[in-house]
């Protein structure tokens, strides 16, 4: 398939170029622009990035393949990244993953037939105090998961609603101000 950046994307790329002393340094950031636009960076998208930046395809491919967040193939509409790392493991991350596997009828690493959901098991996402948790398509974090909360999230996503940003209350507010 052939892909093309929009005018808006190209403007974004131009402003990224100004932030670095050489074009090569923009590779990660421009791969993000591409993934935001096309939903993945498969071989064709990588070729587009290389051509746009006038960099060798091998370089762009090398970078895309090193970093786990770039999708090297088309994914489901929503990608659910379930953390099973240390703190999430301790707080039931694997149970959440199992629940999702059952609910969606797929294994981690697969996509539902309707193309709605991809499920992945991931390493620590930096939300250990809010375990178990998952991240939706490299975006919002959904914390303190229970099976009910997961079901609710699936319904919302199916209805086309975005998960909202969960501001984590600072625990210190409770121990505020000693007179």
């Amino acid at each position: 398939m052939t892909y093309e950046f929009t005018k808006e994307d190209l403007d974004r790329i131009e402003s990224i170029k100004k932030e670095y002393p050489e074009v090569k340094a923009t590779t990660l950031q421009v791969l993000w622009v591409a993934q935001d636009r096309f939903g993945h960076v498969d071989a064709d998208v990588q070729r587009l990035v290389a051509a746009t930046l006038e960099l060798p395809e091998a370089h762009v491919h090398g970078v895309a393949s090193f970093y786990t967040q770039y999708y090297k193939q088309k994914m489901g509409k929503h990608v659910l990244d379930v953390c099973t790392c240390l703190s999430c493991q301790l707080c039931g991350g694997y149970d959440i993953l199992n629940h999702l596997e059952k609910k969606l009828g797929i294994k981690a690493g697969e996509t539902t037939k309707d193309g709605m959901f991809s499920l992945q098991q991931v390493e620590c996402l930096g939300a250990c105090g809010y375990a178990p948790m998952l991240q939706v398509t490299n975006g919002e974090f959904v914390n303190h998961l229970t099976e009910e909360k997961v079901d609710h999230l699936l319904d919302k996503l199916r209805n086309g609603e975005d998960p909202e940003h969960e501001m984590m209350e600072m625990p210190l507010r409770k121990q505020k101000e000693n007179p």
């Binding site: 240390l86 703190s87 301790l90 620590c124 930096g126 375990a131 919002e140 600072m170 625990p171 000693n178």
Partner: protein, 431 residues
């Protein structure tokens, strides 16, 4: 007021002020006054070096894990030669158990920006890169907004606060790779490449980004800087533990009632942190063990914790490290074998593969632990595991191999009985 007693301590890194992430609110709270003082009060700050000296005297120990004195690190920068010089701010925050820097992005981004600009002035730096792990997309966007606001308010860019000092700040997004938290790997990533750590020397102060002098600091480390400038090095170094002073963001996770990030002085007793700050153990269970500062720091059994405080000296004596002060708490029902296998899986997954002892070693650790976990291990496998760790430690380009080896070494020595209980007796023990 003494800020040393944690029970009466008032947070300064993430104080409970509504909408502090907005620049107007931050400025009303005295924000950017430290920067103004540094740039314009020539009586107090004769030259950039005087700022380095003050920060050195405060003894801000790096909050990224290694605990190196920030001001001392700054003093390694060679004299300015008119060419570009860089500050690379480490917001990669990927060590399991660590989730503190995100609080600064979310609640007090301008404190960090102010600290980074002061650091830039002190080291005559021309561009600041802020590298944030790609998974923190919501926080990256918050930081980008804060940086824009700082530009609009003249705190970044040309002639900051009408002085003749200028510096730019760029927020760079990672894309999923734990190794990019290692400082030279982060530099490679900022340069748009695969995150392979570099062989040192040359050190980044000599040859960092694009071969130019570069200093690397953690986000929390830099956020301490405006506090030091505002209140003085003595004030800072009088907070908390003597050899590791200052405010500290403790990330507490695992089996406690109130997990979360708490800002307190350094050196809070571990047991008080669990019982009083984090609300005690969940479901009234007993404490089994903690990992004090991210998954690479050696595990401590509950019976090793009497009188231990959260600072480098006390934790070293106890047999561990402060690391990132991200403490993971485990209750009596925790399956230690399962936990260690999961930690080893993490490091194997994240090894960049450049060095054989790390690439193969992390693979072996995971493989053998998986075998033990599945009930197919033999007692001699435990000695094999220890042997593998010995062959990994100190033999690689970066410290990931050590970070992978330590948990295995210490978890096995400290919970040997639990591992043996899962193993079959070896017919031929390893000699």
């Amino acid at each position: 007021m003494s800020q040393s007693d944690w029970r009466t301590y008032k947070p300064v890194l993430i104080p409970p002020v509504d909408n502090l992430h907005e620049i107007e609110v931050y400025r009303k709270q005295g924000g950017y006054e430290a920067l103004k003082s540094v740039l314009t009060d020539k009586k107090r700050w004769a030259d950039p070096k005087s700022v380095v000296d003050e920060v050195k005297a405060a003894n801000i120990r790096g909050r990224g894990g290694a605990g190196f004195n920030a001001g001392l690190k700054w003093s390694f920068m060679p004299p300015a030669d008119g060419g570009p010089r860089y500050l690379a701010c480490n917001g990669d925050e990927s060590e399991p158990g660590t989730f503190k820097d995100r609080k600064i992005f979310e609640y007090n981004p301008h404190l960090f920006i102010e600290g980074a600009v002061i650091a830039a002035y002190a080291m005559e730096i021309t561009t600041i890169y802020v590298y944030i792990r790609g998974e923190y997309r919501p926080f990256i966007e918050m930081m980008r907004k804060a940086v824009q606001d700082a530009y609009k308010n003249g705190m970044l860019g040309k002639n900051i606060l009408k002085s003749n000092f200028s510096v730019d700040m760029v927020v760079a997004s990672g894309a999923g790779a734990y190794i990019c938290g290692e400082e030279t790997s982060m530099l490679e990533s900022i340069e748009g490449k695969r995150g392979y750590p570099r062989v040192k020397p040359p050190f980044p102060a000599q040859k960092g980004l694009w071969g130019r002098p570069t200093t690397i600091n953690n986000i929390e480390t830099l956020s301490c800087v405006p506090l030091v400038i505002r209140n003085g090095a003595d004030w800072f170094s009088s907070i908390g533990a003597k050899n590791h002073p200052g405010p500290l963001l403790y990330g507490i996770s695992g089996h406690v009632n109130r997990p979360g990030v708490y800002e307190l002085p350094s050196g809070v007793p571990v047991l008080e942190l669990i019982e009083e700050v984090a609300g005690g153990m969940r479901n009234g269970k007993k404490l089994k063990a903690i990992i004090p500062g991210g998954s690479s720091t050696p595990i401590l059994r509950a019976d090793q914790l009497d009188g231990v405080t959260m600072d480098s000296d006390s934790l070293r004596t106890a047999g561990s490290m402060l690391g990132t002060s991200g403490m993971v708490v485990m209750d009596e029902d925790t399956d230690i074998v399962e936990v260690l296998w999961r930690i080893s899986h993490f490091y194997h997954h994240e090894s960049c593969g450049q060095c054989t002892p790390c690439r193969d070693g992390t693979g072996w650790l995971e493989k053998i632990l998986l075998k033990i976990r599945n009930g197919d291990g033999e007692t001699r496998d435990l000695d094999l595991l220890l042997d593998v760790t010995t062959q990994m430690e100190g033999r690689t380009i970066c410290a990931l191999a050590d970070a992978a080896a330590w948990p295995v070494r210490y978890t096995i020595t400290r919970f040997r009985d639990e591992f043996e209980a899962r193993c079959k007796k070896s017919v031929h023990a390893l000699v």
